[in-house]
């Protein structure tokens, strides 16, 4: 049903429709409204057969979720920023143990300096942890990606994270078409664990693995992640067929046919960039990366093949190195001869406006790395 509601609530309803057996979370801005709503769903009885477990920290939240998933129960948590960092040991364990939990990340910057606003630094801190990572442009996509996330995770035994821009999506009211319970049940079968802790047949998981086997196990997870490209694409296509909406898959291309300049990005800023591309004309297109992990190399190469200029705009930064997505795109397009520029934007919630974007996209000063709206006077005064 089409509704006008807060993004956090839309996501919470979508998660509830996936019938998790355990929701365990610790509050942190800007994710909190999601788990508050799930708590209310459990309390009111709208979400049945689900334990909502209150814990004392994010480390406990991810640990409980890992434990319940290992016991064969569909499990979910959500976090942001420092909360994700506090979970990090569990994040790596979940993928190493091949436990298909689903986590929402309300994207927020990482301190110091402390800052509650949106960027993608938190997500980038776990890019090599072996998770599937999906980025939403709108709250419709955010809701839909959660339904797909459980399916992708459980088919592949890879934990899956849905990344949504903190505040910009989590706190925005917009219209979202939420499916019925029957529709979701039809799309997402009950969780059928491939491995399950069982008191009747005791076994241990996560035991020490010596050098003779460790590399083989990591190799298996690595190969499994690469194969997941096809699963993310197929689940996206299945979702589109069933729900008549294109929210999922690997990448999304907008006006790229015949475009000489293509801007590549992730998350909600793609919407603003589409408006900018419309205003700049036919020569400008946008590609948004929906599946950041697994990284859709082939799809990106195909989408960007005919562009002369590629601009990668991202809300994160490898300090001392530069744009993270930009460098991955450079690797993917290695030796193609295309001009690739990097724009770092929106760090710590810095405004991203159409006017700034247009100036930056049209600038031909040859600067390969640009910080959108950087206040040079402020930088100079900090040097003193």
């Amino acid at each position: 049903m089409l509704q006008q509601l807060e993004g956090s609530r839309a996501m919470a309803v979508a998660v509830g429709l996936c019938r998790p057996g355990v929701v365990c979370a610790y509050p942190i801005t800007p994710q909190t409204h999601i788990v508050e709503d799930l708590g209310e769903q459990v309390r009111s009885g709208r979400l049945q057969n689900c334990d909502f477990i209150n814990v004392e920290s994010e480390m406990a939240a991810i640990s409980v979720t890992i434990g319940s998933q290992a016991a064969g129960v569909r499990s979910y948590t959500a976090t942001s920023s420092q909360g994700l960092l506090y979970m990090m040991e569990g994040i790596y364990n979940a993928s190493g143990l091949q436990l298909p939990l689903v986590v929402t990340l309300g994207n927020r910057s990482i301190g110091a300096p402390i800052n509650i606003w949106n960027d993608h630094s938190d997500a980038m801190a776990m890019r090599d942890a072996g998770w599937v990572m999906l980025f939403a442009e709108t709250n419709q996509e955010a809701a839909d990606l959660h339904i797909q996330a459980f399916k992708i995770a459980e088919e592949t035994c890879i934990p899956t994270m849905v990344c949504v821009d903190g505040f910009i999506l989590t706190h925005a009211y917009e219209q979202v078409d939420l499916p019925s319970q029957e529709e979701v049940d039809d799309f997402l079968p009950p969780y059928n664990p491939k491995m399950q802790l069982d008191l009747a047949q005791p076994q241990a998981i996560g035991t020490m693995v010596p050098p003779e086997y460790f590399m083989e196990l990591k190799y298996e997870v690595h190969e499994n992640q690469k194969k997941t490209v096809a699963v993310v694409e197929r689940v996206g296509a299945e979702f589109r067929k069933k729900f008549q909406r294109h929210s999922g898959g690997l990448i999304r291309s907008y006006k790229t046919d015949g475009a000489k300049t293509i801007i590549v990005t992730m998350g909600s800023v793609a919407g603003t960039l589409k408006d900018v591309a419309d205003e700049l004309g036919d020569e400008f297109g946008v590609v948004s990366v929906v599946s950041y992990r697994p990284f859709p190399t082939d799809a990106l190469v195909a989408a960007l093949r005919n562009a002369t200029n590629i601009i990668v705009l991202e809300k994160a930064l490898a300090l001392g190195v530069g744009g993270i997505l930009a460098n991955e795109i450079k690797l993917a397009l290695g030796g193609s001869g295309q001009k690739i520029r990097s724009i770092i934007a929106g760090l710590g919630g810095r405004l991203i406006t159409k006017a700034l974007l247009k100036d930056c996209i049209l600038a031909h000063d040859g600067d390969p790395e640009l910080f959108l709206g950087l206040r040079h006077d402020c930088v100079n005064s900090l040097k003193k």
Partner: protein, 179 residues
């Protein structure tokens, strides 16, 4: 696209006002996007919230820099919050004030200002100084961009029981005062 910026102080329901306005527009079959200014919001501190209304899908995510309409829930934020900044030509400015306020708009044509004692109406109906729903009632009459019936439905979506009824009564009174 019609863009509305709402200014006030934390605790006055500024964000809720933007949300209700978006629900009202949605109920009329339009696309609407409401979002807060994402500051470190505290009781009493100046806050802002935004609402875009359009017949087409809204993709833009920047804050509203050139509003077609402003709702100022607390006149004491007019200066500190630079509340009038960016107001578009032909725009509407609705201010919560029982008496008229003289405002200068350099070089802008056709900006209309309306003042209404929304806090007084809220005190009469709700017994609390919460002017947000009241001002949406006046906004409907002033701008004619949204129907009062949609505002009433939006209030009922966000509130329930007697609180909803009282807010509806206050909004309708504010609507009739301006209409």
């Amino acid at each position: 696209m019609f863009q509305v910026r709402i200014h006030g102080r934390g605790g006055q329901g500024v964000v809720t006002a933007a949300e209700m306005l978006s629900i009202a527009a949605f109920l009329e079959g339009k696309y609407a996007q409401a979002f807060p200014s994402f500051g470190s919001e505290r009781m009493g501190a100046p806050v802002a919230a935004f609402c875009r209304i359009s017949s087409r899908e809204i993709r833009l995510r920047e804050p509203i820099l050139e509003p077609n309409a402003l709702i100022v829930q607390d006149r004491t934020v007019l200066e500190p919050a630079h509340a009038l900044e960016g107001i578009a030509a032909g725009g509407y400015v609705l201010i919560n004030s029982p008496s008229p306020i003289g405002l200068e708009f350099d070089g802008l044509d056709g900006v209309t200002i309306k003042c209404i004692g929304a806090t007084e109406i809220a005190m009469e109906h709700l017994g609390k100084p919460l002017p947000n729903a009241v001002l949406l009632g006046s906004f409907a009459a002033f701008t004619k961009k949204i129907k009062i019936d949609s505002v009433i439905e939006a209030i009922k979506t966000k509130f329930s029981g007697t609180i909803a009824e009282k807010n509806v009564a206050a909004a309708v009174m504010a609507y009739e005062k301006i209409a």
